[in-house]
């Protein structure tokens, strides 16, 4: 049984896809009029099946060697595109995480999307989303990975643009697609180049090739930069980070997945690419630099947000920045650990936020307060999620960050400082949000705030328990070191930074009016952070402005110069024809005169020399 399910675990992505495809009838005609609920249940069922299948396969895979599967897809001339699929405990663990979170998020959305008329479309998109992610986890071929990354880009576009009638959603969907697309096109350049150089796009062949590859430094650098561009966009890292906070305009259940597993998919690809990136030291350095910039920048920006979802989305960018640093420094296990713990904790926090938004119908933290006694489960979820994220209490985030500190402790102390800063700022930010949302006096929108219905509460509470159990899971996977081996000063520093952030968040005075924590004297800084260092505006002026200008110019050039020239020739010939027609007046005197003039001019010209 287990063996069979392990062998067939390549079909895990197909479950989600089948769910998505079979939802299509609910978009037309009579089936649509029967109501979308059955489609939603069907999708949930498919995800459940995928989850159970994956769980058994994962259990089996722990005792079996990794099994590569090769599917031949396309063969032409010197190009052989086969899909290698990697069935190992790591990839199956990743699919398990994805399907489990997707399952919880889908049940959650039964409640969250209850009043939406397009719930069938939403579930179909979630199924597609899940299929792309599980495929990405299993894929062992760069070509397949690229294709699935694009599929993720597409489904992000459609999910963010789910409520397409709202103007902000339209721009958010557009920005999400285009920003990721920039990364994807660069990645495609890398894929094409790599395919030419290495002859195959399966990771195992690529690793083999990279050991003996002889590339000139320039080519290697360009290749490395192109390859990291895709994940940079996917993980919302500077300079391609602008889409993630805008994407918060989309439905919340999709945000649960996006902030936890989707961004992780980008990092997962990067981890897969890492042996190739070693060819170019510049790209590793770039990873670290980008990661550091994003980690600190996004942590700062998060503090100044008053939209509860955006405050958390920026912190996602920050954590993924830490992952980038870890990958750049070749500490893959640190990266995976941060990804894992962050995914679970962040998913929980977004569920809690989703409950808050459902109940209060607002995302603005300045309009909230006093929810703790009204929504106990949500409050617990938020608290546990924060604790699981920040390195203070011995939950997931703590162990992951400790692992990072351990890794950097001796060789790169400045990265330890980055880590501590991010930890402190995150603690500060979460405390701030907690104070604003759950403590204080209730406001108009939070006065009548009942706890959410069971469809939302059950997944939230389950995930709360899961988050609390993360240390136990780590223990079982022997990722938690013995007390004796702990680097006590590192642990102490980590806890101190978390505590510092927490205390600062508790005691920074902010009144309701100025609920953004940075106060009046620093208005400038406050606005700069709130507007994400004005990166949006900068892009609008530079990149977007440039493209718009070039396109306007070329359109003008096309109309005025290229077409103008053509039309000018046309008009000129018409005009000369029109004007010459007056020479045919029908009077013989005029013709005679013309002939005589012509002949005499000719005669003069011919005899010119003789005179």
């Amino acid at each position: 049984m287990g063996e069979f399910l392990l062998q067939t675990s390549w079909c895990l992505p197909i479950y989600g896809l089948v769910g998505a495809v079979l939802t299509l009838p609910w978009s037309i005609g009579y089936v649509r009029r029967t109501g979308p609920r059955p489609a939603a249940y069907f999708n949930i069922l498919m995800t459940l099946v995928a989850m159970l299948h994956g769980a058994i396969a994962f259990q089996t895979s722990l005792y079996v060697d990794p099994q590569p599967i090769l599917l031949h897809w396309f063969h032409a001339a010197d190009l052989d595109l086969s899909f290698a699929i990697d069935i190992s405990s790591v990839s199956l663990g990743a699919t398990e995480l994805i399907t489990a979170l997707s399952f919880l998020a889908q049940i959650f959305s039964l409640g969250y999307m209850e009043k939406d008329w397009a719930i069938a479309r939403f579930f179909a998109l979630m199924g597609f989303f899940e299929a792309a992610m599980t495929g990405l986890a299993l894929s062992d071929s760069l070509f397949l990975t690229y294709a699935l990354l694009e599929a993720l880009t597409l489904s992000t576009y459609l999910l963010v643009g789910f409520w397409y009638a709202q103007p902000l959603v339209v721009t958010a969907a557009r920005d999400a697609f285009l920003t990721k697309r920039v990364g994807d096109v660069l990645l495609l350049m890398g894929v094409v180049a790599l395919s030419t150089f290495a002859g195959s796009l399966n990771f195992s062949d690529l690793y083999e090739w990279s050991e003996t590859a002889l590339l000139s430094p320039t080519v290697a650098t360009l290749l490395g930069l192109a390859l990291i561009a895709g994940p940079t966009g996917k993980c919302a890292q500077f300079p391609l980070h602008v889409w993630l906070d805008e994407a918060m305009e989309g439905p919340n259940p999709a945000s649960i997945l996006r902030n936890s597993v989707v961004v992780s998919c980008g990092a997962y690809v990067l981890i897969k690419l890492q042996p190739i990136l070693i060819l170019s030291p510049v790209s590793s350095i770039t990873l670290v630099v980008l990661g550091t910039m994003t980690a600190i920048g996004a942590s700062l920006v998060a503090i100044a947000q008053i939209d509860i979802k955006r405050a958390l989305a920026h912190s996602t960018s920050a954590y993924l920045g830490l992952v980038f640093i870890a990958i750049g420094m070749q500490w893959t296990d640190v990266a995976l650990l941060i990804l894992f713990t962050h995914a679970i904790a962040k998913a929980l926090m977004f569920m809690s936020v989703g409950s808050i938004i459902t109940t209060t119908s607002t995302q603005d933290v300045t309009e909230m307060g006093g929810l703790w006694s009204r929504m106990p489960a949500t409050t617990t979820a938020f608290l546990v999620g924060s604790a699981g994220l920040v390195g203070l209490l011995p939950l997931g985030g703590f162990w992951a960050l400790r692992e990072g500190m351990n890794a950097f402790w001796y060789d790169n102390p400045w990265l330890v400082i980055v880590l501590l800063i991010v930890n402190a700022l995150t603690a500060f930010n979460l405390t701030r949000v907690f104070r604003l949302v759950f403590l204080g006096e209730p406001q108009i929108k939070t006065r009548r705030a009942p706890e959410v219905p069971w469809t939302m509460a059950v997944p939230m509470v389950s995930l709360t328990i899961m988050t609390l159990l993360v240390p136990a899971m780590l223990q079982r996977l022997s990722l938690v070191p013995d007390w004796a081996y702990l680097n006590h000063s590192a642990v102490l520093l980590l806890m101190l930074s978390g505590l510092g952030g927490l205390l600062a968040g508790c005691f920074v005075p902010f009144t309701r009016v100025w609920s953004r924590p940075v106060q009046m004297p620093f208005k400038l800084i406050q606005d700069m952070l709130a507007y994400d260092f004005y990166v949006d505006q900068l892009y609008r002026v530079t990149v977007v402005g440039f493209v718009a200008m070039v396109s306007r110019f070329s359109a003008w050039f096309d109309r005025a110069v290229v077409d103008g020239l053509v039309n000018f020739i046309g008009i000129a010939s018409l005009f000369s024809g029109e004007s010459l027609k007056y020479s045919a007046s029908g009077q013989s005197q005029f013709y005679l005169f013309t002939i005589l003039t012509g002949v005499s001019v000719l005669g003069v010209l011919l005899t010119y020399r003789l005179w």
Binding site: H75, A77, F197, D558, V562, V566
Partner: protein
């Protein structure tokens, strides 16, 4: 068998010509009341549908009988015609023309199907469309240069009338512009053909009997230049493209479908068949310039498309950009890239046909194609959600999202061209990013957002209007997921198109040893490729030393 493809539509033309004039009164009543399905069936339309269905079916049968391993052109038919002139009625089918012939049949059928039933002067209209089908099929099938030219010119006349009679407000201008441009292109092509045959002293104009190796390179380059401009007008390539947006904007929807789907392919087909096929030496001498030209065309088309506000113009300029890829791949002329051109021709034919169909529906229902006016058409109750969803699919296919045909064809082109022209390939890849920009603009503006009052009472969209786009979408996805079907037919032929050039590259490489300038781009990457490339073909092709003497 092949003659049937060419002459069955002509049979249809004769049959339609024999029909009595239609009942104008009934049509007038229909237009007045707008009663969807109650119009009496139009016999002309029926005949047109049946004949094109037969030719399409026939082409599919041919595809099934096609021997994919054969190097020769198949199902050959040869009838001496004007022998002193060297003009023979010579038809043949190979892997380059087969997909295009099938595309021609399919899109003509779809074009006829999606024609409005209440069209004015239906008999003339369907006759012209059928003649267009004949012209296309004949051009793709002919194995004689003069015969190709005849069909090439034949296709121009019906299209002129189709634009000039059933077009939009500025149809006269657009049709005349199209006529002049295409006539010039025809003259240039004829001149090149005559030059090729007479200078190489071939006995006939039969494609198989022409050998240009004896011609001096400079003569070849001049002849190729004529062909390039001639077919460059048809493809179209910058700066010979301005007839295209005008023609598309003024033509009715079915004619736009045919124009983009089939007729533009005549240009790329001709360029590959005659430019690359007959003058390989000149082709490889010019190829760096061709690749650069392709890049200019791609970027120019893409940037210009961004600034358009008319949906049809936007799609037309995207054609300019996407057909530029074909030139890029043709210039590289590796087995893979030539295969990529076939893919790109088919995928562009399907995708742009689909986009034009959808734009046509939007225009028919709302009365405008202006993306600054349209908004919120995805509205589930009062808008056109299914057309909108199909539009998203079409747009994503065009932008090269994997799983659809646009992606694999672009990937083949990039991957095939990269070893030869790395820089040009990388730059033209920016074009795929820009495709996303302008098509996203289109979808975001017209389909997203809130439906304004003025479009609150749109007419119903019938299933007959959705079905053609549905069928195309299915094909696009099917071929995107299973591109091997197309490879199966085309690979042998496209591979055969390249050895000619590989040999001549050797010659050029010998020439370059004295002057290593023209292939500098490739040379940069060569050292890095050669030790690891597991592809003997490619290395043989690149290395002058691997000499298999002709």
């Amino acid at each position: 068998m092949l003659s049937a493809l060419v002459w069955i539509p002509v049979l249809g033309v004769i049959l339609i010509g024999l029909l009595p004039p239609p009942d104008e009164a009934a049509i007038a009543r229909f237009v007045k009341r707008s009663l969807g399905e109650s119009l009496p069936p139009d016999p002309a339309r029926l005949i047109a549908l049946i004949t094109t269905a037969i030719t399409f079916g026939l082409s599919v049968v041919l595809a099934l009988q096609f021997d994919s391993t054969s190097l020769q052109s198949q199902f050959q038919e040869s009838v001496p015609w004007l022998e002193p002139l060297g003009l023979n009625y010579q038809l043949g089918l190979d892997g380059l023309s087969l997909p295009l012939v099938i595309l021609n049949g399919l899109l003509t059928w779809i074009a006829i199907y999606s024609t409005e039933k209440s069209i004015q002067r239906p008999r003339l209209y369907y006759i012209l469309v059928l003649l267009l089908n004949t012209g296309g099929a004949g051009a793709f099938l002919s194995g004689n240069l003069l015969l190709f030219f005849l069909f090439y010119e034949l296709e121009l006349i019906p299209l002129y009338f189709l634009i000039a009679i059933w077009g939009g407000d500025r149809r006269g201008y657009a049709a005349t512009k199209f006529l002049i441009y295409t006539a010039v292109s025809g003259i240039l092509i004829l001149a090149a053909f005559l030059g090729i045959v007479w200078l190489s002293q071939s006995p006939t104009f039969d494609y198989a009997e022409i050998h240009t190796e004896s011609l001096p390179l400079i003569t070849q380059i001049i002849l190729l230049g004529l062909l390039l401009v001639g077919f460059g007008i048809k493809i179209p390539l910058f700066p010979f493209h301005t007839w295209l947006p005008d023609a598309h904007v003024e033509a009715s929807t079915p004619i736009s479908v045919l124009l983009a789907g089939v007729l533009l392919k005549l240009g790329t087909y001709g360029l590959l068949r005659f430019g690359l096929g007959l003058l390989p030496e000149a082709w490889s001498a010019l190829s760096p310039w061709l690749a650069t030209w392709a890049v200019v065309s791609v970027l120019y088309g893409a940037f210009t498309a961004i600034a358009q506000t008319d949906m049809k113009k936007m799609v037309a300029y995207s054609s300019l950009a996407h057909m530029g890829y074909v030139l890029l791949a043709g210039a590289a002329a590796t087995p893979l890239s030539i295969l990529g051109t076939v893919f790109q021709m088919v995928s562009h034919g399907l995708i742009s046909a689909m986009l034009f169909l959808l734009v046509g529906v939007v225009y028919k229902k709302t009365g405008t194609r202006d993306i600054t006016v349209l908004r919120g058409l995805l509205n589930p109750e009062r808008g056109m959600p299914i057309i909108g969803s199909l539009m998203v699919i079409g747009v994503m296919a065009s932008a090269g999202i994997p799983g659809m045909m646009g992606f694999i064809s672009e990937f083949l082109i990039f991957r095939g061209s990269f070893p030869v022209f790395p820089v040009q390939t990388l730059i033209s890849m920016i074009g795929t990013g820009l495709t996303a920009v302008y098509f996203l603009l289109l979808v975001n503006r017209t389909f997203f957002g809130r439906l304004p009052e003025q479009f609150a009472n749109l007419p119903r969209v019938y299933w007959s209007e959705r079905l053609p786009a549905f069928a195309l979408a299915l094909l696009i996805v099917a071929l995107g997921l299973q591109p091997n079907w197309l490879v199966y037919w085309s690979e042998t032929t496209t591979a055969q198109l390249t050895p000619a050039i590989a040999l001549s590259v050797e010659k050029i490489a010998l020439r370059i040893e004295a002057d290593p300038k023209p292939l500098k781009n490739a040379a940069v990457f060569l050292p890095s490729i050669s030790p690891t490339a597991n592809t003997p073909k490619a290395t043989a092709y690149i290395h002058p030393s691997a000499s298999s003497n002709p």
